[in-house]
Amino acid sequence: MEVFVVSLLNGLVYGMLLFMLASGLTLIFSMMGVLNFAHASAYMVGAYFAYTLSLYVGFWVALIVAPILCGLLGAAIEMWGLRRVHKNGHIAELLFTFGLALIIEKVVQMTWGLIAVPYRIPSGLDFPLFDLWGTQFPAYRAFMLLISALMFLSIWLGLTRTRIGLVIQAALTHPDMAGALGHNVPRVFTMVFAAGTALAGLAGVIGGNYRVTEPGMAFSMGPIVFVVVVFGGLGSLTGCFIASILMGLIQTFAVVLDYSLADLLEVFGFVVTKATPGSEFLMVTLPRIAALLPFILLVLILVLRPRGLLGTRDT
């Protein structure tokens, strides 16, 4: 019970962090039709901006300003970079974002150095919120949950209940028609790209001190976010949300369940010993492959349901 509740909370926190990153990416993904490789870089830049800003103006200002800076950066990238590359097709866009990710990493290394920066949780939130059978639940994690829940709510309301949201949805699915009706579709694209980048930056601001702010953080976070986006389905915010929470919970619970395929077979009466063919493989416990489970799921969903969980069109 103790392990279950604590793991559930941990899974939720991690899932929500994933969602913050993935929500922006899924919007951009459905708009461009191409994965933005530089998305996790915005997460990293957000964390570094927040670190530098928090040295001068404190964490709370950084929480607002750093995502805005990231958004402006995103807008600039879209207007002066992606838009030009766009006419050369998807491959060119893909390569462009890939190159951008490498450049951003190098610039971060040159600006802030190669080793981790001491970006810490603000002292106002650095206390245990409550105690669960001796394991403290830090207040900062609750704060992360709160921020991400607020974010989910506001995006969802924004996309479905406002006029801007309607225009964005229209521009995403029928850009020509939306253009013919007098909407400035390129500006909508820039806005969506900037908003997505700002969301990634926000994830960086609150994820950077929860984890470690170092130049490798984009690289380590990138793949799992792609899994979430593809798994959740193209352009579906709800799908993305479900996929994020699912990935968070799967990875968390896989770690605490010390079972292997051999244990499963034992239930059916097969006892696996060292002599059994393939016993090495059968005896690998779940925790050892916990971090790989999302990728296994990615392969499965691409084979069985290419449009993703709640996607409306094939990837």
Partner: protein
């Protein structure tokens, strides 16, 4: 006209000869080149970059003490991007330029590739041989079954470090949890630490023993939940990089009563990630700490390490590399000639005091250094803090050279001179 031209060309030839003559003294004393190959770009660039700066500081010191045979040492860096194939390209370049030494610190897989390449090269080219100075590839096999005459290891191997770690566990600790990375190095830490616990501390129970995929885990909280449930008092890990930083960070944040015994918490990025919450909880098995010199009252060593701090903006955690260059310096002087074979023979079995005053020995049987080793505890109030965190490594235990002697299975094959 022709006469004038002859005179002119003769004069020109004379001038060239004169210039060549003038250059002769400078040409007669070329530097002794040491190739250094490690990741200088990519995700592990910080390691190679920091090593390079520290080595340069040490070499400048060695050169100010006269170098060897009246010649100075010169470090020539090659980026290997953490790839064995790139390290072999560096080796090729080094041997093409007749460099007598190649140095490599991170990655036992790269070390194994280098040893193999050097063995072949040295067999085929008896008059252009090269010595491998290993400054940190610690897989035990490299000085056991895979030992080579041309390979000299200047850091303790995994089995030795594991012994130091187990010896440092206090008597009150009876339940430990092992987490290691699922690849060659992590698995050997797991094996060796387990073996030494069985041998030295049969009272200790291993309540959890886990391998994690290398660099894939984003959130370590579930592991902490498991450790908590197991009732472990100490976590023993050979993890490095994000796998170690995130693990310790998650543990400290959850506030569980746990001590952390690590191999790499003191290195690049570790202290920053751990932060003040890790006070008196995090231990590191380390080859050097900047507080050792003031603790043992060695003013000269302290001043020398301070010189690095004044010049560079980061910790001098690899100051003990000085032992490598002092062994090399002594061996070259003893050999009397820059010849890899003669230097290698001079270096094996060579004993000397390191700059802190502790004995070191390059063991002849397996070319494994025997040297003092330290267990540091992360705490406030030390003279030199780590990564400007305000906390630093205070020496909790000093293990002398004789206590790290372990038997070897190496059957050294020596070349005929």
């Amino acid at each position: 006209m022709r006469f004038v031209r002859t005179i002119l060309s003769a004069a020109a030839a004379g001038l060239v000869a004169l210039a060549a003559g003038a250059m002769q003294p400078a040409m007669a004393q070329p530097t002794i080149k040491i190739a250094y190959t490690d990741p200088l770009s990519g995700p592990f660039a910080q390691v190679g970059d920091a090593n390079l700066k520290q080595m340069q500081y040490i070499i400048d010191h060695i050169n100010s003490k006269g170098g060897a045979l009246g010649r100075k040492f010169e470090l020539v860096p090659f980026d290997n991007k953490s790839q064995p194939s790139d390290a072999l390209i560096a080796l090729k370049t080094a041997t093409d330029q007749n460099m007598p030494f190649i140095m490599q610190c991170s990655g036992s897989n790269i070390a194994a590739a280098l040893i193999d390449g050097i063995n072949k090269h040295n067999d085929r080219n008896p008059d252009n041989r090269i010595i491998y100075l290993n400054c940190g590839a610690v897989a035990t096999e490299l000085t056991n079954d895979q030992c080579s005459f041309w390979h000299f290891r200047f850091d303790l191997n995994v089995a030795q470090k594991a012994e130091v770690m187990v010896r440092a566990l206090p008597k009150t600790t009876t339940k430990v949890y092992l987490i290691n990375q699922d690849y060659l190095f992590g698995q050997s830490v797991q094996r060796d630490v387990g073996a030494f616990i069985k041998k030295l501390r049969p009272d200790i129970q291993i309540v959890g023993d886990e391998l994690i995929p290398l660099g894939k885990i984003q959130d370590f909280s579930p592991y902490i939940t498991k450790i908590k449930a197991s009732g472990a008092q100490a976590l023993l890990t050979g993890n490095w990089g994000p796998d170690m930083n995130l693990l310790i960070k998650a543990g400290i944040e959850s506030g569980i009563d746990l001590n952390y015994y690590t191999f790499y918490a003191h290195l690049a990025g570790g202290p920053t990630a751990i932060g003040p919450g890790g006070e008196n909880r995090v231990y590191a098995v380390m080859s050097f700490g900047e507080n050792i010199a003031p603790e043992i009252g060695n003013k000269e060593a302290e001043d020398w390490t301070n010189g690095f701090r004044a010049k560079h903006n980061f910790d001098f955690s690899a100051a003990v590399f000085r032992t490598i260059f002092e062994h090399v310096q002594a061996a070259v002087n003893k050999a009397g000639v820059v010849d890899a074979t003669k230097i290698a023979f001079a270096m094996e079995g060579q004993a000397m005091k390191d700059f802190l005053g502790y004995e070191t020995l390059m063991r002849k049987d397996d070319h494994q250094i025997m040297t003092a080793y330290y267990v540091g505890v992360f705490k406030k109030g030390v003279k030199y803090d780590a990564e400007k965190t305000g906390l630093g490594w205070s020496t909790a235990a000093t293990i002398k050279m004789d206590d790290v002697q372990q038997p070897t299975s190496c059957k050294m094959r020596r070349p005929r001179i």
